[in-house]
């Protein structure tokens, strides 16, 4: 049986030739994403801003009667709710800020929930209440900051590890690729105003984990080739390494995408936003490992002597860098 080859054997694409336009483009995207997040802001879910969220499924209809629902709920006197389609067309999420008096009287939030639910159930016979969440402002602030700390610390610690195992330039490169992935993902969330909640933080972490995997595989090959071909120029080594690992990159991305697409098409609606974020992130992550993490090494000035043991110098860092420690 002839086996499948996704990447032909003698593939030799000059990735590095395009580094300046690609880099400019990516830097532009990063800046645009950050600007988007700052100007438009993220559509933070109740996890992070506090408030109440009610998830309603209309079991008998194809499409949720959003306009009627809005009118009905707004008429209750709690202000204008944020109503969004959540996943499938017949599922909506209704969001309200918590009433002011909740600080003094915690029961106020309950009373509000009960009133809203009762009114929906009375008006729409096929409404099924699936999820009720209420988060006080105090908790939501903490949730947001711990999530952000976790993200920040994880990115930093990973870069430090790569610095120790490789060279500082690689650490910076990996960090840059991570920043690229995270900011682009956040940018997309800001652009499309997809709800950003704790689950999405987990999605971003998945992207980081995946992108990092990619980056390290490329870096490992660069390190190996730098030892093997001492006379070769750095851009050539980078091109060679990316090409050599291309078959693996394509194969791995494909397999993980298969699982994700299956989840997107057949998985539960409640996972849609989450899976969509990861799927987009896989593309961004693969791209950044090839076009961000590798070329930056040229500008940071990686020395091909870095990984070659100097004569009579058997120091620990070197042994570690050679992966023999």
């Amino acid at each position: 049986m002839r086996l499948l080859k996704l990447v032909p054997d003698d593939t030799n694409i000059h990735f590095l030739k395009w580094r300046v336009p690609f880099y400019s483009f990516s830097t532009l995207l990063i800046v645009a994403s950050i600007a988007l997040v700052l100007i438009r802001g993220l559509n933070l879910g109740v996890d992070f801003v506090g408030g109440q969220q009610i998830l309603v499924t209309f079991t008998q209809s194809k499409e949720a009667p959003v306009a009627e629902l809005r009118e009905q709920v707004a008429g209750l006197g709690y202000g204008e709710p944020v109503i969004q389609i959540a996943g499938a067309q017949n599922e909506v999420s209704i969001r309200f800020p918590l009433p002011e008096e909740v600080a003094k009287n915690p029961a106020a939030s309950d009373a509000m929930t009960t009133k809203i639910v009762k009114s929906i159930e009375a008006e729409f016979k096929d409404a099924r209440i699936d999820d009720l969440t209420s988060v006080s402002g105090k908790v939501s602030g903490e949730l947001f900051s711990t999530a952000m700390y976790a993200l920040g610390f994880a990115m930093l610690a990973i870069s430090i590890y790569i610095w120790v195992r490789f060279e500082w330039q690689f650490g910076v490169g990996a960090l840059f690729a991570l920043v690229h992935d995270v900011s682009l993902t956040l940018g997309m969330f800001a652009l499309f105003q997809i709800e950003f909640d704790l689950k999405i933080v987990a999605a971003i972490l998945t992207i980081i984990g995946y992108s990092l995997n990619d980056t390290i595989v490329v870096y490992d090959r660069i390190r190996e080739n730098m030892k093997k071909y001492r006379k070769m120029q750095l851009p050539e080594i980078l091109d060679l390494s990316v090409n050599e690992t291309l078959a693996r990159t394509v194969m791995t991305s494909l397999t993980i995408l298969i699982v994700l697409v299956a989840l997107l098409l057949m998985g539960p609606a409640s996972l849609f936003g989450f899976t969509a974020a990861i799927t987009l992130g896989i593309f961004v992550g693969t791209y950044s490992s090839v076009y961000m993490a590798a070329p930056i090494l040229i500008w940071l000035g990686v020395d091909s002597h870095s990984f070659v043991p100097e004569e009579n110098v058997g120091d620990k860092a070197d042994a570690l860098a050679r992966g023999e420690a």
Partner: protein, 532 residues
């Protein structure tokens, strides 16, 4: 590299089979097969987002602990100094700004007073609970130490958690999770409970029960203005009672507290068919109750719950048997709730709900069903792709992938880990990483074959060279997972746990297990050619 001593083989197979066996109960339950009860059946806990249910986060009012501590210390100081022989006379005893101060009548008694107060100040535990200062010769100032206060709060939280557990157990729901979170919070998760209201009203009740004599001398006009006669205090009627909105005056001292109960049951009062709560005192409490009622026949006494009057019936005759009945416009449900609360004891601190959530059971079941279907179809496609791409080695990788999924489930079940929706993402990432390890190895073997190495040498080099990248990639993911667990909360933690376990099982299966299988094949078949 490809040599495996016999003991290692046995050990690897043993590990694999144990983990797979541990996964069986979970798989059985997810696919709806009934697991025989005779067999041990640890299962992966499904998070509320998958199983449906309610969760609430309670926060304790810790300033209350500080205040209560101050009040009881004030009492203790008064009592200890009065009981000293000869009694030490003090004046101007007051607690304000979080500290207690008093003036000694006789300044020469300073040392004796200090001696008497020492046991109170030092407390019973290893930490000193109060700081004692003497200013201007005869003024004592007691300030709570930070450690002492922390310990008191911690004790109160332990008790509160225990009380919460008892109350929820009384609801009879299955497998609630009650965890203390941080210093002042308690997280409660009850799978399968779709009405959090019952839960909240059950936990919102401090259940501090008191019986106090009504001060019949108080003038109604004074009560309305909130003025109580000396030695009395004004207490409002509880909402829902017939006299709600009004207040009465009760004597501050000489009452009985409900913390000496041995039992509380909901029942119906025979004449009016009203829901009531029957309570039983322990011996000491019963005697006090008998004394109080015997001395005050014909007078009304107030039944006060959490600072609100439920009812104020007249004492018709002494109540001697240690049993009493609480009436107060209950429904059968609210009476039952009060009975549960009274049985499990009063909360040492008020708890406020600061976060709550309910996931309908349909949504959870739907998520699981669709999630499982999607994952199965996706995985099947991946297995086929791997087989078509890498041939025999791809099949080994596939077998490893299946074992990996089973092992991951098995380990999670053994540790009673909770699987949540984000946990499923961790699962996907793990599968991705496991596939990637084999892709790395197999691509490398391809390269080495292309460079002209012989089959065995190519496979050896493939495993050796790929291991380095696999190692680095997984270590960085471990770092990420550990930090996420340390700093993250809720779903982020669930993700981190799955990731940590998944990294270990995927490296084990993708690298070690496949190597064992490949080595066995190489020894047996001694292939000269490798279709890769």
């Amino acid at each position: 590299m490809l040599d495996f001593p016999g003991w290692k083989k046995v050990w690897l197979w043993f590990l694999t089979l144990t983990a797979v066996a541990a996964a069986l109960p979970t798989i059985a339950s997810l696919s709806g097969v009934k697991w025989p009860e005779a067999l041990p059946g640890p299962q992966v806990n499904l998070g509320l987002d998958l199983a449906g249910g309610s969760q609430i986060l309670l926060e304790a009012n810790t300033s209350q602990v500080a205040r209560q501590r101050l009040e009881s210390m004030e009492e203790d100081v008064r009592r200890v100094l009065r009981q000293a022989s000869p009694a030490i006379r003090i004046g101007d005893l007051s607690s304000s700004n979080g500290r207690i101060s008093f003036l000694l009548d006789d300044a020469t008694q300073v040392d004796r007073a200090r001696e008497e107060l020492l046991p109170l100040v030092n407390g019973s535990g290893p930490v000193r609970e109060w700081n004692l200062e003497v200013v201007d010769g005869s003024r004592f100032v007691l300030t709570p130490t930070k450690n002492g206060l922390e310990q008191a709060i911690s004790n109160a939280m332990d008790t509160a958690t225990e009380v919460v557990r008892k109350r929820i157990d009384a609801l009879g729901t299955r497998e609630p999770t009650i965890i203390r979170e941080g210093d002042t919070r308690i997280s409660v998760q009850v799978p399968g409970l779709s009405d959090p209201e019952a839960l909240k009203s059950l936990l919102g009740q401090t259940a501090k029960l008191e019986f106090k004599l009504v001060d019949v001398t108080a003038l109604q006009s004074d009560i309305v203005q909130g003025i109580a006669p000396p030695g009395s205090e004004i207490v409002p009627y509880a909402p829902g009672t017939p006299l709600a909105g009004t207040s009465i005056a009760v004597k501050r001292l000489g009452g009985i507290r409900g913390d000496s109960l041995t039992n509380a049951q909901q029942s119906f009062e025979q004449r009016s068919n009203q829901a009531v709560v029957d309570i039983t005192f322990d011996q000491a409490g019963g005697k006090k109750f008998a004394d109080l009622t015997a001395q005050n026949v014909g007078k009304p006494f107030a039944i006060i719950l959490d600072g609100q009057v439920l009812s104020a019936p007249n004492i018709n005759e002494p109540i001697l048997g240690g049993k009493a009945q609480i009436s107060g416009s209950f429904t059968a449900e609210s009476a039952n709730q009060l009975a549960i609360s009274l049985r499990s004891g009063a909360l040492p601190v008020d708890l406020t709900v600061i976060q709550q959530g309910t996931v309908g059971p349909e949504l959870g079941a739907d998520s699981i069903r669709k999630g499982l279907l999607a994952m199965s179809i996706g995985s099947l496609a991946v297995l086929m792709l791997m087989g078509f791409t890498y041939g025999r080695l791809g099949l080994y990788a596939n077998a490893a992938l299946v074992v990996n999924v089973l092992m991951l489930l098995g380990v999670m079940a053994a540790f009673k880990t909770t699987l949540t929706l984000p946990g499923i993402a961790g699962f996907v990432l793990t599968i991705g990483a496991a596939v990637d390890a084999n892709v790395l190895i197999n691509e490398r073997i391809r390269e080495e074959r292309k460079r002209g190495r012989r089959v065995v040498a190519a496979i050896e080099t493939g495993y050796k060279e790929a291991s380095r990248a696999i190692f680095d990639a997984n270590i960085t993911n471990v770092i990420a997972a550990v930090l996420l667990f340390a700093f993250g909360s809720g779903p982020v933690r669930g993700f981190a746990v799955v990731l940590m376990i998944g990294i270990v099982t995927s490296v084990f299966t993708a690298v070690t297990m496949t190597r064992l299988w490949v080595a066995g094949w190489l020894r047996k078949a001694r292939p000269q050619e490798l279709n890769i």
